[in-house]
């Protein structure tokens, strides 16, 4: 899968990041941190239904749902004092939420590399983002009743 066959919303995000000057990429990541919406009530009241992502440096929790028509819904939460983690979650939500399951599963595992963040964020900090993507995809696969393969990354 190449950049032009990424789901359109995600392809646009990748294009925005990779074409921006390095210093601006951090600002953009911060904007996605601010765009992460609050959890819906059913998760706020039942945090145990969220899946932890221990690969991230800061606490990150994610819930992945597949609606009866196959539409994927992603909810995530991380503390305000962990804006980098929130930013990664915000990108994945903006790029994947509302897509058909097949499109979510087809996203290549090197998405975080395509965002061109390694030089401004450091590779270590990117592992959590890759792990989050892997967990979302694994959960979609499980919910579809397909075979559970190891997460693509992380």
């Amino acid at each position: 899968m190449t950049a032009d066959t990424l789901p359109p919303a995600l392809a646009e995000i990748v294009e925005d990041f990779s074409s921006a000057p390095p210093r601006d990429r951090l600002e953009m990541l911060l904007e996605y941190a601010g765009m992460l919406p609050p959890l819906p009530e059913r998760y706020r009241e039942h945090p145990e239904r969220l899946e932890p992502v221990p690969e991230c440096q800061s606490p990150l929790f994610v819930a992945t749902e597949v609606e009866p028509d196959g539409t994927v819904r992603i909810y995530a939460d991380a503390p305000q004092e962990a804006p980098t983690t929130r930013g990664f979650a915000g990108i994945l939500r903006a790029g994947l939420d509302g897509l058909p399951a097949a499109e979510v599963l087809a996203v290549p595992p090197d998405l975080t590399a395509r965002l061109a963040l390694s030089e401004v964020v450091s590779p270590l900090r990117l592992r959590g983002a890759a792990a989050l993507q892997g967990r979302i995809q694994r959960r979609v696969r499980e919910l579809q009743g397909g075979s559970v393969e190891p997460a693509a990354a992380g």
């Binding site: 951090l26 911060l30 440096q57 004092e81 962990a82 980098t84 959590g128």
Partner: protein, 297 residues
């Protein structure tokens, strides 16, 4: 030593061996406008500074700015000078560090600056969390500092930094492992809830005492009192201020916090931080490793 700004005479700090290395939040608030002061924020989260920082503070990122981009090492003297010039830090500036996570990364940055012998380096007791808890001012405005003429000073790794071969020679002398008990015992290869950084073996360096770094800190991120620290390191862990001590953790950041406490708060004269730490030792071929051995009671 050049001390450009007056010392913080807070009574808690006065008990420490080197009170000139710490400031309280109220001292910092009173001196923010001093032109010879540079406040440096160093965080684990690379975006936290951008969400709001102490007015005038510059950001130094441990990962992308203090390390050489190719070799696993710190900047050399020329690159460090270039970074300082760019940040507007002069050789005679009073530099006050603060950050998230009880000052882990702030202490780490202070330790790296110490390798270059910058004269006046201080840590904000309690770090970012205390400043925020006291509802002191923060801003998202970028600081405007004039570039400095910082000289190129050769890095001195001999006093406060230890390398693997030196740690091998050090075996039998005091070593402090500041990681969590489960990392120390070998049960975990890395910090709980943190990314696996690829250590192939678990455990600790033979003879190391386990004193998790956080035991030196209070709930609010400030350092414990001198008496409490003496009880911990000299009582419980059996260290003496004249000892030759090596401290380590996973990559040398948490152990910078302990290095700071032993050196500046208790007055230990020979403490070296082994920054290769477990990511090096836990992967090195044929270095001795202990598991589940006697942790300090």
């Amino acid at each position: 030593m050049t001390v450009a700004l007056p010392l913080d005479t807070d009574p808690k700090l006065a008990e420490y061996a080197h009170p000139e290395r710490l400031v309280t939040t109220s001292w910092l608030a009173d001196h923010l406008d001093d032109p010879n002061l540079v406040v440096v924020e160093s965080d684990e989260d690379i975006l936290l500074y951008e969400t709001g920082h102490i007015p005038g503070a510059v950001k130094v990122d441990w990962h992308t700015e203090l390390n050489d981009a190719i070799t696993r090492d710190y900047l050399d003297g020329e690159k460090f000078a270039a970074l300082m010039r760019d940040k507007g830090i002069g050789r005679d500036s009073t530099v006050v560090f603060y950050g998230d996570k009880s000052n882990w990364w702030a202490a780490y940055a202070l330790w790296v600056f110490s390798l270059f012998g910058h004269p006046d380096l201080r840590l904000l007791d309690g770090g970012r969390a205390k400043w925020e808890a006291e509802e002191r001012p923060t801003t998202t405005d970028a600081p405007s500092r004039v570039p400095s003429d910082y000289p190129s000073v050769e890095r001195d790794d001999s006093r406060i930094r230890a390398f693997r071969d030196q740690v091998l020679e050090h075996l039998g002398k005091p070593l402090v492992d500041v990681r969590s008990p489960d990392e120390f015992s070998g049960k975990l290869l890395h910090m709980a809830n943190y990314p696996q950084e690829g250590a192939l073996r678990g455990g600790h360096i033979p003879g190391a005492k386990s004193v998790p770094w956080a035991r030196a800190a209070n709930e609010d991120g400030t350092f414990k009192s001198r008496a409490e620290l003496e009880q911990l390191y000299q009582g419980e862990a059996g260290l003496a201020p004249g000892d030759d001590v090596v401290v380590y953790c996973r990559i040398g950041e948490r152990s910078s916090h302990t290095w700071f406490a032993l050196t500046n708060l208790l007055g230990f004269e020979r403490v070296r931080n082994y920054d290769g730490s477990w990511t090096e030792w836990g992967n090195a071929v044929r270095v001795p490793i202990e598991r589940e051995a006697e942790a300090t009671a």
